[in-house]
Amino acid sequence: MPVVNVKKCTGCRACHIYCSVEAISYEAKKAFIDPDLCTECYVCVRQKVCPEGAIETIEFDTFNKQFQHVLSDPVETHGVTGVTGRGTEEVKTNDVTGRVKRGEVGLSIDMGRPGMGVYLRDAEKVAMAAAKAGFKLAPQEETPLAAMMEDLSTGKLKDDCLDYRLLSVIVEGKCEEDRLKDVLLALKDIANEIDTVFSLGLISRVDENGECGALKCLDQVGIPQPHRGKVNVGLGKPLSLD
């Protein structure tokens, strides 16, 4: 965990501009990193933003703190999924894994993004709302948040993690294409009940021209057609044809 060594801190205020979640404040002319606001992303540590070297690290004192760090710091590799960043492969290897097959739609609900951070209690709200609408949440072998879930079928998280804040975490899973409308409507509703934002990605198999039939559903629920995408160009081997 990053902490300020007050003996070294000169109170120059050089550090606070680099914190994405405004966890650095000043008390008695010294910098202070609020452990409840800090997401353990380690930007301040890695980039050596203190000219006096006053930002130091101490060991994580709980599993939840360690989880915060692994998910918030893209340099870390998640222990179970083996993936850096938020620890999920989503569309990036779908040509090999075949996780999202024809007739299915994946959603990558990127909680706290862009840049606002997310308390896990808000991630739980979204996961539970989606699950109730027929969304099948991905297991922990595929996405890290599942490790914090008491019940994958409902999206309920363990109570002791709810007050931890991450820079972002992905609620991930899939549903049959004909359930997409219900899930999107549930997300529209729950979006009004969270104290942060999420960026939403819709993952689908496409035809040889890159067209996707599932996008028609967006018009029915009043979501603008997307102009950006992350295109898996199908060069991975062995290629999944599902």
Binding site: S199, V206, C212, L235
Partner: protein
């Protein structure tokens, strides 16, 4: 992770911004990565990738290409950024010829990326579409700042840092290019488009 997908800003500006990835799949093709990564890097550099990196080491705007290559391992994640669709076409053509067997992903404006795939002779398999930002958007930074911070999808670049750099450019203490490089050094993945960022800073100071 979806850190290259949800970039924001003017569409014409986004058309100068393409992120490329090489991905290994855990338990399938995730061993002996270094020679494959070197093939990707060679092709990307030949096509003119402006910035690239391995998240385990850092980006080329901070470290030399040789240094990053030396430290490649099975944990490596190689990715970078192009500024023109022609570079994407060249990259995809060559990577297809090399037949390395790793997953390849291009993120960007679909009206540019899909024709580039067609021209390069690759067939899209799956797409992750950006459906935008949902929820409590009142506390988001302004659009210009967001167009810079979202180029580091892991949000290692704070809005205040962007304001600080723009302020220094406005005061003539650094050029837009110098400011963009300073910001880019915080994005360890190497997908921050410092060329586009310099344009954004120049247009808004």
């Amino acid at each position: 992770m979806t850190h290259s997908l949800h970039r924001s800003g003017d569409i014409e500006s986004q058309k100068k911004d393409y992120v490329w990835f090489m991905y290994q799949t855990k338990g399938v093709n995730d061993k002996n990565i270094k020679p494959k990564a070197l093939e990707f890097i060679a092709v990307a550099e030949a096509a003119g990738s402006e910035n690239w990196g391995d998240v385990k080491t850092g980006p080329t705007v901070m470290y030399s290409s040789d240094y990053i290559k030396m430290l490649l391992s099975d944990k490596t994640r190689i990715r970078g950024v192009f500024t023109r669709s022609e570079q994407v076409v060249e990259f995809l053509k060559k990577i297809k010829e090399k037949d390395v067997g790793m997953s390849v992903v291009i993120a960007g404006v679909l009206s540019e990326v899909l024709p580039a795939c067609k021209e390069a002779g690759v067939i899209p398999h799956s797409v992750n579409y950006s459906l935008g930002i949902w929820g409590k958007k009142d506390n988001l930074p302004d659009d210009v700042t967001l167009s810079v911070t979202t180029m580091c999808g892991h949000h290692m670049i704070s809005p205040k840092f962007v304001k600080h750099v723009m302020n220094r450019v406005e005061k003539g203490k650094m050029t837009p290019e110098e400011g963009a490089l300073q910001l880019a050094s915080f994005c360890y993945c190497g997908i921050f488009n410092h060329i586009r960022c310099a344009d954004i800073i120049r247009e808004n100071t």
